[in-house]
Point group: C2
């Protein structure tokens, strides 16, 4: 979604309004923070360095403003989710680190990252050797929550367990979290099912996925 | 999506507003019709026959109203897309036929169906022998447009061509359309790609999909 990087000023205004409403909704729900992916350049904007630079700079302003909105709504933090798309910000470890260097200690509420194991390990963008520690170690002080899903390293699949297509090992996440002393970071299971999948099949797979993940974290 | 069958009255009001805005947008775009899936019962509503009956009845009222809105917006038709979900209306040939018997000739603009080859041939719901002619023959006078996609008969996949996972033969659609004298119905290619797929890969697959489908219709 284009979000705060929408090519049209009206689109960006809608995205700013979304963050306001999301903060209000989070407060109403009693959630301590609000968050999501920030946005995507259009193909045309991404191809124009001057425009991309201006949008990136405005995105920082929008993030500061979103933090003020979150603070005014009584929230304690803002969560930003890196995505494995070159037209989105942030989409790499380095870009995530630079963004946080700009924000850390300067915003009305602290900003932290949502690290999704399917985004972080997407080999078409990050190469065949990418490892969770490549993300967790350099961003360790800025990881607020981890999104867990089953995938095949070639798609941001959000499958559950069991799934014959998925090859992600939950034990690898548990190990990487221990190795970086991030054991206490909350892990959220984030699974997507096709609309047409029968209700019972969805519930069965969610149940077995929770059991699978619990066992992997508590062997 | 719950749409016009949303369990909450506010949700249903939002859905009615969606159809109004969609009609206005279609007019602004110069499109001759507006349409979509109608809605889905919540699990709880679907389990209560009296509630499901009342919602179904209100859905008919909402459809008449949506046709009036479409007519007022200057549109020539309203399109309804059957979906392969038991909690949605309509989701079967028989239910589609009954719905159209209620609407035909009574609405401010004519209602027609969008037949999606991935919805219609979803074997987990319709069984292993389901065939396009099972849908096209009984609904032949009410088919307004066909949605074309590649799939594996076990998911509403919306893949393109080539795709090693997909087994749908476009020739089978062309043959079924000829067999039911529906050759002149427009066919729309409806493909979904993962967010994270690279732009070039998307464009390449859309291009090869169009070529593949054209060749199948013009052997």
């Amino acid at each position: 979604y284009n979000g705060l990087l929408h090519p049209d000023p009206m689109g960006r205004a809608v995205a700013r309004e979304w963050w306001k409403r999301a903060a209000a909704t989070a407060t109403e729900l009693g959630a301590p923070a609000v968050g999501g992916p920030l946005g995507a350049f259009s193909v045309a904007d991404a191809a124009e360095p001057a425009i991309a630079e201006r949008r990136s700079s405005e995105l920082i302003d929008d993030l500061f403003a979103a933090c003020e909105v979150a603070a005014a709504a009584g929230l304690q933090g803002l969560l930003v989710e890196p995505t494995p798309l070159p037209r989105e910000i942030p989409h790499s470890v380095e870009q995530s680190r630079r963004l946080m260097d700009t924000l850390r200690g300067q915003t009305a509420v602290p900003v932290a990252y949502v690290l999704d194991v399917g985004h972080a390990l997407y080999r078409p963008l990050y190469g065949p050797k990418v490892d969770l520690v490549d993300w967790l170690a350099p961003l360790r002080d800025d990881i607020g929550v981890i999104h867990l899903q089953n995938h095949d390293f070639m798609s941001d699949a959000h499958w559950g367990w069991p799934d014959t297509r998925g090859t992600f090992q939950v034990e690898a996440l548990a190990k990487a979290m221990r190795a970086t002393s991030l054991d206490e970071v909350p892990v959220m299971l984030e699974l997507f099912y096709p609309f047409e999948l029968a209700d019972d099949a969805v519930l069965t797979n969610i149940t077995s996925s929770v059991q699978h993940c619990r066992a992997a974290f508590n062997p």
